[in-house]
Structure formats: C-alpha cells, structure tokens
Symmetry: D2
Subunit: 467 residues, 4 copies
C-alpha cells in the first residue's frame, strides 16, 4: 500500500527560488502593520512573539539548509540558534518556550537583518550551486514550515491585540462589509458505506464505494460539482497543495472502512452558536466531556474566544477591530470541547477525519476560486457564498479524531523527524484550512492538530451523523 513515490519531489531550482522569494515576502507583508512593540510579547505560552516567528523561520533555513551545505557559510550569530530553535531537541539547547517573550534583544531591526542575511545567502546558494536532493527537500520543508508560521503569526497577532483593552485593529477591512445574506437551512450530504482511501496521494474512493456512490450522485451535490469544481486543479488528486509535497503525517495512503454517514453541507454559524448559548449550553454539564466541563467551570467560559459582551451586545474582536457578531458567519475561536458539546446538544456529532476527507474528496475535491484563504486578505471567516460547502478555508474544522499516526507512519531520520510525530498525543485533528492559511499550502489530506482546549486559532465545526 505504501507505494507512493518520495514525498518531496525535486522541483526545479528556479521554481524553488521564486517560491522562496514569494513565501518570505509574504511573511514580511503580514507583519507590515505591526508596531515594534507588537513583535515582542508572549501573553500565553502558546502564543509566540512575532519577532520570534521572524527569527525562527529564518533559523530553520540556516540550520537545516545552509549550515554544512553551502560551502563557506558562516552563521549570522552563533547564539541565534539558542534563541530561535523551537523544540528540536536534536540540535541543541534553546530558550525555554515560556521565556520567548522576555527576549528584547536582538531587536526587531536586528532580526530583520538576520533574515536579510539568510535570504541573501540562500538566494546565492540557489543561484550558484546545484542543491542535492535532500537539501532541496529541506528547503521545501522550510517553505511549508514558514507558511505554517504565517498562519500562527495571524493567530498570535490577533491574540496580542485582542487582549489589549484598547482593541487596536490589525488593519482596516479592504472593503466595507456587505449586509449578510441569510444562510439557508443545514443540509446533509450522504456518504455510502464502504472502503475509502485516505492520506496523501489517495484517490477519491476505492472502486466499489465509488461506483456505489456514483449511483447516488444526486441533485444535492450538483451545485457543488459546478461551483466548487470550477477552479479545481485537475492535475492534483489532493487539491491545491504544491504538487509533490506533503508532511510525513499524511503519508501512508491506506484504506479505511466507513459506515454510512452524512455530513453537513456548511459550517455552523454564529447565529446557531448563539442559540446554544441562549439555551444554556455553557451552563449545563450534560453535553460536555468531563474534562471539558471542568475547563468551562475553571476558566469561566461563556462564549467563543474574542467575544465580548459590551453594553448588552455580543461583539467579537476581529483583525479589523471590534465588530458586532455577524449571525451568518461561521463561528470561530472555539475549542474542541465546545465544538463537541455543541454537536451533542444538536443530537449530532463531529465527523472523523476520515469521514471529512472522504466527503471532501467527493463533494469539493479542490478549493473553489472564491474560497476564503489568507490570499483573500480578509483574515476573518466569510459568510458562505451560494453553493460553497466551505470544506476549504474560513475556519479549521475540528474533527472527532485524535491525532495519531497513520498505519505506515515513520519519522524522518535526524532532527526534522521531530516535526510531527512527537506531538501525536492528547491532540485532536482539524481539517480544511482557514482564512489564515495560504491557498497553496492546503490539501485534502492535510492534518492540522491542536489540544482540545485551545481556541486562539481560527477553529470552527461542521456537523455529521450516522445514517
């Protein structure tokens, strides 16, 4: 089964160079609205200072690509490895994670100098040398890694600004918000019982299930086929992800057996969430995991993160500043505990990650052009457009699956092997990307993961049920 070719195909170096420039420039563009002070702080352990992201993504290229590969390369400052290593035990000591927000030096300016130095060295390397395949793979990994940090940067910036009593906006909306259209009733997309292929490189479905399913291709999915598919990259079975790249945790294409189920055709909205709140959802234990209920009580949780009750109205902090809660928008900044309790309150459940992936491959195999990713520069979830099933973008969807290895999973040798595997405990999988995800970073097989109590990310939910 484990027959896919090596995960990281070697693109041409010129492709790599142009991608490198683009990704690095994007990070800097995302930081452009920040003031120097915003770069420095770490309000909670999960949030890293933007300055640290800038340095850490740079260090990744220095440590894994340049050092020892580019002949004559000298590190910008040997102490920076200590400052900007995140969690790689294999490459030495590092500033403890809780201390990142205490490091006022190097200054923001110096970190950007470090960044410029590494960029210039790496561009030379790409232009003047032929990179061995394994170095090119590390470089590709570095780019994917930096895209992940772009997303974290947006979460962290939102957390830093949103925790400030002045509620400063990150930047103004590019266009005035239009009056929201009423989102229609939730529909369920049925999925047939059978064997499905899961993981990077998977076909949509195994033969049997596919043929069965073909017969049930009904009017309900017709608009999806016209709408969602219009921008589909026909070359890629895995959506818009860079052809050839996936993380190790997606590898091991394999079969799963799914019992018949149905999955909602859109995300849960703020309006639906308010019904839960008004029905006492946060005050009654019955729908909660025991650890979730304890968390709700200890933390005094009463609403999604970034929601504030001001003058009798629910407002939410967005990257555009405080705004009234929009009932049509997908709910976001909720924990797994909240998503799970909500689903139970509705008498439903979350889909597993396999159910999500199979349904996505069937109903929205590639993101439609209007999907709301980082590239849209909206930076908040959008109201569902007509026909949009929202499998892609807007908010990461909590699934009911714990983050555990796929059957053929094995860690890469060396420090990069610490990338994913060592986190496969006590976390839950999320799928689909968000308004902070770069469009070319996501795929149907992409597995994101967070602890069940976290909610500073753009997280939301889609409902499912057994048939």
């Amino acid at each position: 089964m484990q027959s896919e070719s090596p995960a990281i195909l070697s693109p041409t170096q010129s492709d790599l160079l142009s991608r490198f420039k683009h990704v690095r420039a994007t990070t800097e563009k995302l930081c452009a609205p920040l003031q120097t002070e915003d770069y420095v702080v770490q309000p909670v352990v999960d949030v890293s200072p933007p300055k640290w992201h800038i340095g850490h993504t740079t260090w990744f290229f220095e440590e894994f690509v340049l050092d020892g590969n580019l002949p004559g390369y000298e590190r910008f400052d040997p102490q920076y490895a200590y400052l900007f290593n995140s969690y790689y035990e294999g490459v030495g000591k590092r500033v403890v994670r809780t201390d990142r927000g205490n490091m006022t030096r190097p200054s923001v300016e110096e970190v950007y100098q470090y960044r410029a130095y590494v960029d210039q060295q790496l561009e030379c390397y790409l232009q003047e040398h032929s990179l061995p395949a394994e170095v090119a793979e590390k470089l590709e990994l570095g780019l994917q890694h930096e895209q992940q940090h772009q997303e974290l940067l947006l979460y962290d910036i939102k957390f830093i600004l949103g925790g400030n009593p002045l509620f400063p906006p990150y930047r103004a909306r590019k266009a005035a918000k239009e009056a929201a259209q009423p989102v229609g009733e939730l529909q369920f997309l049925p999925m047939e019982e059978g064997v499905y292929e899961i993981g990077w490189g998977a076909d949509t479905q195994s033969a049997d299930a596919q043929s069965a399913d073909a017969q049930s291709a009904d009017a309900q999915s017709a608009d999806a086929q016209s709408a969602d598919a219009q921008s589909a990259d026909a070359q890629s079975a895995d959506g818009p992800g860079r052809r050839g790249f996936c993380f190790d945790n997606e590898l091991g294409r394999h079969k799963v057996y799914l019992q018949a189920y149905a999955i909602a055709d859109r995300l849960v909205t703020n309006g639906e969430w308010l019904e839960f709140m008004e029905a006492g959802g946060y005050r009654y234990f019955r729908h909660w995991m025991q650890e979730g209920w304890q968390w709700v009580q200890e933390q005094g949780i009463q609403a999604p993160y970034h929601w504030h009750r001001i003058d009798g109205q629910w407002q939410r902090f967005s990257l555009h500043g405080l705004e009234p809660v929009d009932l049509q928008e997908p709910v976001t900044h909720i924990s797994f505990y909240e998503a799970d309790a909500y689903a139970k309150w509705r008498g439903l459940r979350l889909p597993t990650e396999q159910e999500w992936e199979a349904a996505c491959r069937k109903h929205s195999p590639a993101p439609p052009a209007y999907a709301n990713f980082q590239d849209s520069e909206l930076f908040e979830p959008a109201v569902r457009s007509s026909g949009n099933r929202q499998f892609w973008g807007d908010v990461w969807e909590w699934t009911g699956s714990a983050y555990r290895p796929y059957p053929y999973f094995s860690e890469a040798p060396g420090p990069v092997g610490e990338y994913n595997g060592k986190f496969m405990i006590n976390q839950m999988v999320l799928r689909g990307g968000s308004c902070a995800t770069p469009r070319d970073h996501i795929r149907a097989s992409y597995r994101n993961f967070f602890h069940p109590q976290l909610r500073w990310l753009f997280s939301g939910l889609r409902l499912a049920k057994q048939l």
Copy 2:
C-alpha cells in the same frame, strides 16, 4: 450495522441473585487483608480510599436500583449519596474527588453496615419482587461496575502499601515462586489485510478477510488454537464475558479495514525492559512523545512504577512485598508514554485497538484456563506458560488508539449515560484484562482506558508492526 439486540439481556433473577452474592462477597474478600487504617487514605487523586470503594459500589445499587424501585425503600443515610457519588453530575453534589481521603467518617465498620443493609434490601428485592427489565439492567450494570472497582481496589491497595517505607505485603504468596523458565524469542503473528468486524457481538472477521486468512492459517497459530482455545466458551464470540452484557462503549459492531500487520505472540518482559533502561531509554529524548519526555524529566522517571533500586539491585514492590525483579515476567506499571517509547526504540509500534481485537479474535478467541486473572489470586503478572499468547489477563495492554466513540456510539439516557462517554478525550485504550480483572468480566471487545501518564494500574505492552 447497528443491529445487535439490546446490550443487556435479562437473566433470570435467581442467576442475578447468585451473581450479586458472589460479586459482593468477592469485594469483601479482596479487602480482608486490610487493616482499618489502609481503608482511609488517598495518596494521589487517582487512588481512592478502599473505604470509599466499599461505600461507592454500595451507593450505586442504592441510587440506581433500590431508590424509587423497591417499594418503601429508605436510604440508610441520606448524606451518603453526597459522600459516595463519584462523578455523576446528574444525581447531585458530591465530596470533591480530592477530599475522599479526608473523610474519616463514616467509619469502616459503619460503611460495612451500610453495605450489609443494602445487600439485605437488594436480596429481598430480588427474592420478593419481579424486577422490571430496566432495573435488572441497572443491577447488572452495578455488578459490572463493582467488578471494575475490585480491580481499582487492587491498584489502590498496591499504591497505598507500596508508597509506605515499610513496604508491607498485602498478603503472602499462596505458593512459593518457581524458578522462571526462559521466555523464548518474540515471534510475530501475521494478520492479513482486509475488513474486520469490531465491537461487541462481532464475528471474528468479515467474509473476505476470513477466507484470505484461512489460507494463511499456519503452524504458528496451531498451538494457539489448541492451547488457547481449549477452554473457550464456544457459545460466545466475545470470550468469557457474561453473555449478554457489554458496556455502551463497545456497542456499535462495525467494520474496519486493517492493512496487513503482525502482532507479537507475547508481552514484553522485565528483562527486555531492563535492556531499554540500560541503553539509556529514559535519558534520551528521541523515542518519546514531546509530552512524555517532559513528564519523564519533570517527574524524574527512571524505571517502571513500584521499582526500587536497593543496594545496587532492582526490586519491585508486589502485593507480596518487595521482591527482586523477575526478568521473565511481563513488565507492568508503565505509562503509555513508556510503552510507546519502548516500541519506537525497538523500531516497532503498539497495535491499534482494532488490530489487537482482530488478532485476539483470531489467535485466542477466549481466555485459556490457565490465563492469570483475579480469580487466580496471584495478583501479579505471571511468566508466560508454554503456548500462552497472553492476550488475556496478566497486564492490560496499552494500544496505540486514543479512546474515542465507535461509529454508532450513543450515551444512555439519564445519569448512567455518564458512565463512559464523557471520558472519551485525552485517554488511551488498553485491552485484554489483567491479573486483577475478574475472569467473567472481560471480553474481546472490552475497552479499558487511562490517561497516558498513569501507571499505578497493571499495564504492560505487546509489540506490533506493519507488514
């Protein structure tokens, strides 16, 4: 698929009565070696005072069976519900869990009086009334519940005595320990790719996989078929578990697709564990989950729980007192983190719970007569006998599966619905029962679960690998 009949068949009342007497008497027999003082303390939050177990299992019958059902029933003491409720939010307030070990009253004697009162009332109820089906089901649940607490009692007693610098034995060995036979090399039992049925009431395998597998039925499994099967309850596809009972978390027989794999034919031994320790297993980060490594360092973990380095030798506290570590015995009192790190160090992995169940159904569908359960009164894992695959008894086997609901899982209405579902987060599944499990309490579909850092239970591991 979800077609099984109601989980709890109504046995005759006379059966129930004799089972009730047996289970209740067994609990008291397990407590017989205790001194009054041993009943009272709670050294850590996970360990409950034996007195509390005695009262809590009694309260369960009073709360869910007698109260409101037996005409004219009066509670022994209305305040006991507050004292002996464990975690049922639905039936009122309770002593916070961390305070159980501070309750010196009611005294041990008074708790036994309470127990006798409820026993006498319940026996009357059974003898003089016809129990409605749903009450009989609650009674059966109460018996299963008490058997679970018997097992916890043994863990807790071992923890309480083993944390005392005097290392007092719980009771002497019934027979002198025999010289251990060398346990042979680890063999792997191959399992074919295909669809398997999982959950209570499942057949061993689906038709296709079964036929494929039939062809590969090799010599290796022959001894298992002769040895393990000799005491098999031919009536029960689920092993020796009481026909008709399972917990809600086992329900929803369903199909899974397993890629080809192999599973070890026995448990990992103390001798093999010592090799890991001597190779620096506890000092090198590479094989550990990130949270496991943090746990190892913060807690200073260097060996399984209950192991002590005394005069240059490893001894382990057993319920028979301090004894030298026996290299042939299965290792026990290890956390999931340790089991997982050990497997990675060997270049292998833990089986998933589905893999475990499928292999168990094939290679040892029912526990052999010599399997080491609570009924053996050894109360410690035993060295593997010839042919014994140790799927049953000795130690609970950590699997690689997070404890999450099966596809058709739904919680029972009312307070008993809190039994399993609300714990399905941040815990890992264990399979197979232990030397502290009553033989008639276990089945192939039985799902035990604990947090990954816990190790006061009789936990161990079996290795697996992909083929």
Copy 3:
C-alpha cells in the same frame, strides 16, 4: 542584660518521672474519643494525622533522650525515625510533610506499642539511672514539646471532624451550655509610657515606669487585681509556667520602650464579629493588607473558619458538634489578616507582643483559677466571666508583632537548635494560650507564632490603641 541562669533548671528525677507520666497520659486521654480512622488522615499540609503526633512525640524522646544515653537502648524500629521526624534536618531524612497522611502503617495499634515501649524504657531510665543535666533538659524539652503537640492535636482533630459533612462531635459537652450573659462594653486599660522588661524572667516593669504606673493604678484595674490575681502563683513572675522552663525564643530578658497605649479589657466576641461581617467587612478592600485581601478573594473567605451558613443561620462547628454561634463568646478561628482588618475597621489596632506582655504582667500577672485552659476540658472558648480579662486561655491572641528573635537570642547547639529560630520569618506572634493549652505550659513570656493566613488554631484578638 542576658544574666538569667540557664533556662532549664534540673528538677528532681522523681518530679520529672511523675510529670512524664502525667503528660504522656494526657495525650492519650485526648485521643481516647477518636476512632481508628480519625488517626490517619492529613487533609491539609498544616494538619498532621493524630497517629503521627502519637509517634512523633514518642520519637522525640527516643531520638534526643534515650538513644545514646540509656545504656544498651535499642530502638523499637530503626525505620521509625524516618517516619516520625518532623523537621529536624540535623537527624536525617524523613517522610515529606505532605505524605504523613498517606502512611497507613505502622497501624495505630503498633504506634501505641511503640509508645508503650519508649515509655517503659524512659521510666526505667529515670528510675535506675542518674540523668546527666543536659539529658534531663532534653527530657523537659520533650515534655514541653508534647504539650505543644497536645494543642495541635486538638486543632487537627477539629479540622478533620469539622471538614466532614457529617460533622461528628469529638465528644459531648460535660455540662449543658448555660445561657450566655451579655458581655459588657469594651473598656480600655491604659498603660503608661516608659521602659518595660520583656522576656522570660522579666519583672513586670522597670522602676521608672512602675512608679509612674503606680500612681495611675485606678479603679478600672481593681477588679482585675482582685479577680485575676486570686490564684496567682506568687512565686513566679512568669505565671503558671513550670518554674525554670522556657523556650529559647523567650530568652534574653531585655528592655523595651513603649509609648503610652491602652489595651482592651477583654477579647472581641462573635457578636462584634458579626457586626463586621454585616457591615461588609469581608467585601471591602480598605481595611485589609494587600496580601490578606488577595487571600480573601482567592479563597472566598466570608466568615471565621468552622462557621457554616445553614438554613439562614450561622452555626459553628465545635468539638461538641454543630452549634449556633454564641454572640457572647470570643470569636475564634480567624487569621491574622482578619484580626488586623477587624481592628482597622474599628479604627483601632492590635497590640504588639511587648504591649501585650507588659499589660498582662500588670493587669493579670498569673492566670486566674477560672481561666479556660485544656484542663477545663471545655475545648472551646468560654464566655467571659465577671472580672476576667481573658489574658489567659480561651484563644491565642494575634499581636501586631512579626515573629523575630529577641536581642540576645541564640540557637542551642545540635538538632534541638532547630526548635524555634528557623521559623522566625513570615509569621506573627500570638500570646496568652487557649482552651487547648495545658495550664502549666503557658507563661506571660510565651511566644506562639503562626503564618498570617492560618486559622485552624484557636486564635482570636484583643484590641489596642495609642494614647
């Protein structure tokens, strides 16, 4: 100034023997009402299991008196030193303090066997050998030490029983409670400015202040002179304390200069405390130390410890069980923070320990016969009798003085030097003894001390003000 003779005079051995028997028997009598279970638990770190007190006071004699002194003495069990050492770093390792409540063995019966063994050995020692002076001093110290533990035993028993939802009484009142007489208005006893002597062996006052004071000896103190003095031990300038003994922290008789002040003629009552509560005393920050206010808010403090609001009424748990709060009784189980806030709310303050001692030496130099000590076997504070200034017994009085060394303080050499000195930080001094203090254990110079947030002791307060 430091001219007093050695603190511990050598009494005759026969005196010592009879005192030894009396003190040891008293401890056992105090424990007589306990059930075995009550002996074992440690609900909070400050509360030790009664079993531990029984063993620890015994160990003190074994460690410091018998071992190495009584020829041929063999320890009852060498491991007991590890189990029953409290905090003496100088005599080896010990069970960590928070683990005392997890030690179910040795059993209560075995600890009493240990106790009997040491008693028998020590009685032999006293009867058959001539004790060197320094050994006799350690023996005397051991008796004083055991009397301190008698008092702690009563606090701890009250805490253990009072934290149980069944509120079991320790024992019934010896006599029915009489209707309380209204306690009269608070009067203030004036004290002249001048130099006073403080510490063990101090005269009441220096010459100058005394003569000045003599002139102001007014009618107000007359009843005290008649009432309080009637049972005064004329031989002892330091009250009823055993002639010749004091703790090292009382040594160094020295002069202090007190500005003119006045001190209340009785303790603050429950009725007065209720006024504070009803005026919002626990809800308004203004009268609280900053750390006290934080403590009130974090712990949700709303009333003295052991008070419970039941059916709209304030009840308090006493060693006789739950009883309505008696408005005439001295308030007790309050922290320093509460005492201090109350005094400020009244526009007054607590006396310093020097002010307390000077006033006590003048107005009530020795405890009156009717003072309420442990010997009364009431075990709760009593309503003030006519003329009783309550300097002695009932409740320990928080003073405004931090527990710091007197000018000539020096620690004894050897492990007993750890007795007092190392605790002289972050604690406040209390004076006067309580209903749990043995009458022959207290003196005017006696310095008790606790952390400012503690309140499981019999603590109360007396008001003072500057003149």
Copy 4:
C-alpha cells in the same frame, strides 16, 4: 510624642516646578539607552515593563493632581487609568499585574506623548494657578513616587537585559574601572545601651544615651565625623532628604530602647561572600531559615542573582555588561534569606532597623559627597573609599526587622492611603539607599521593604552583634 508638624510642608510653587522638571527629565534620561523592545516586557511579576513605569508615573499626576483640580482638565485617554493604575483599589479596575507585559499598545511613542501632555498641563497648572496645599502635597508625593520608580526602573532594566543570553550592556562605564584597593578588616562601631529616637524628625538620640555616648566618642569615629560629615546638610536632622517630606511609614517619631550593640563599619564584600560559597554556605541547612532553605533547594540557588559561572570563573552581569566579580565591591542582589544565613554563618546577625538608624544618625548623619547614588551614574555598587562607612548609597541593607507600622502610624484618607500600610506583612525592612537611589530622595528614617526572597534589587548587608 506624635508632635511633628504635617509631613509635607508646602514649598514654593517655583521650587516645585523646577523639581518637577528635574525629576521628570531624569526618568527620561534613565530610559534613553533603551531600545523600543526593552520597554515592553515583564519577565517576572515583580518586574514591570519600562513603558509601564513611564505611563504609571504620569498617571499618578493625572489621577491625583490634575484630575478634578486643574479647571477644565481633560484626560489624555480615559482608558489609560485602567492601563496604568498599579494597585490602587480605591480608583477603579486595572490591568492585572501579571498582564502588564502583554500590553503592546499604547506604543512607547504614544506613552511619551501622554507623558508630554501631562507634563505640559502640570506645568501650566503650576504657572497659572495657586495650588491648594493638599494638591501641592500630592504633587510632592508624585515626585517622590517617581523617584522610587526610577530606582525600580534600573532594577527592572537590569533584570530584562541580564536575563538575555546576549547579556547586552545598558550603557558603557563612564570611566574605566580602577584596580580595586584591598578593603580592610571589618571593624565594629559600638553603640551604647539606652533610649533612642526613631522616625522622621528624630534627634539623634535621647538625652541620656547621648551623653553616655559622647564620652565614648572615640578615635574610631573621628574619620567618619570628618569624612562623612563634610557634605552634611546641617539644616536637616534626617540627612539629605527633601526638607519637609517623608512617607507615612516613617512618621510617628518615637522612642525605642536598644541594648548595647555594635555594627560593622562597612558592607560585606563579594570576596567575603565567596568565602561563604566556598565553605558550602548554600549547601548546608544549618544557617538558613526553614523557608529560606526550601527556597534555596527549590530554586537551585548557588550564588547571588546576576552571577554566572563562565569558563570556571564567576562573572556578574552589571549594567555595563558581563564583568568578573570584583572581590572588593559590596555584594549585591542577595535575598534576605541569604543575608541572614551569611550573618549566622559568621556567628553574627543583621542589625534591626532601629539599630541601623541609631548608628547611622550617630556615625554618618548625612551622606558624604562621595556616596554612590544614582546621581553618580555608576549604577553599580562601588568599592568603599577610605573612611566611608557606606551607610548611604551602594546597596540597600537588609535589616533584621519585619516591616510593621510604627506606634503612631495611620494611613492617609483616600486612595493615597494605600501607599504603604497595606504592604506591612511578610516583608523585611532595608535601609540606606543604593546606587540607584536619587541622592535627594533618601533619609536616615527612610524605610524600604521587600519580600525576603527577592533579589533583583541592589540589596546587600551589614553585620551587627550584641555587646
């Protein structure tokens, strides 16, 4: 006794204006070497971000001087009160202390704009209105308050930079360090038994003690009289403190009786501290407070704060960067626990605050010209010059006195009453000022106070003994 005139005399407004400008400019000068990033962080709860100090000292003037007093005054931003209130419960809610380091907005630039606005308004107020006496007093309090924050700023800057692995200097030394002269043997200055006056406005000694002392004025103190006194402000019995100002905690001039004692003529040096370290001072429990010993073990304390063992040598981080430890300099950055343990190890003790004050008034009634204060811009303790008794400047001296109110202490009405009184628990008094203290801010009666485990301040010690 409480006869002194109101603590804060009204200086002329022109004096106030020039002082206002000077103090405000000094704060900004102290911050000049900072980079923007350095202004933002709060590595531990006791350290505030420099930006917060800049805003908080400004808010103090806005809140207590301008608002409600200057006609027509409008706050710069009403939300700033919430951001920059420190601990005044009486003036509304505030950012919790642990969150100060998470506030990236207002930016440093905006906080300086706020500062400029308040400065400009306050200067107008002083130039164009006649300030009521109580407002002028608040203004004076604001200036003293800002001087205290100047000192804290230097501690906090040192902590922030010293915790960075790059060890960036705050600024270079103004002059190269001279080779240290050997500091001579410690001498003890004897002090006669008797009554002394303590507190603001106190004469050196009471008549009796003074005359006695006059006879013992020996050669030993002669150099002090010539050296230390040369710059003495003959007008002020309280040293160089602004005539007329003291904090409420110094008020209540009163008499104390001191037994004969002697006090060291200089501070303990780094060289003497190294002897303690090399003798195992941090590894042996005997000289430590019990809570201090626990702190040493839990925190792994092995040397003063800011000391680092690098390549086998002790270096210390100073505001000039990393430097070798200078054996002649006074030791600094030690906790009370360490100071107390050191003194006991030497068989000596710390002076009480009263002993310190009496000795200072006698031997060095006013700071000599060469005393090392903030004004010297050395910002680190200096080696003792000939004749300098170091009562003034260099390092705050831990005394053996707990911080408690003086006899006549009363809190001011209104929010400023929260200034000192509510901290009088669990803290120890320090005396004499440091290299970070403005020269015109200190006096003989000045009482500084910190918790016994803190050591990020410039703290040191002077030894004493009983005679």
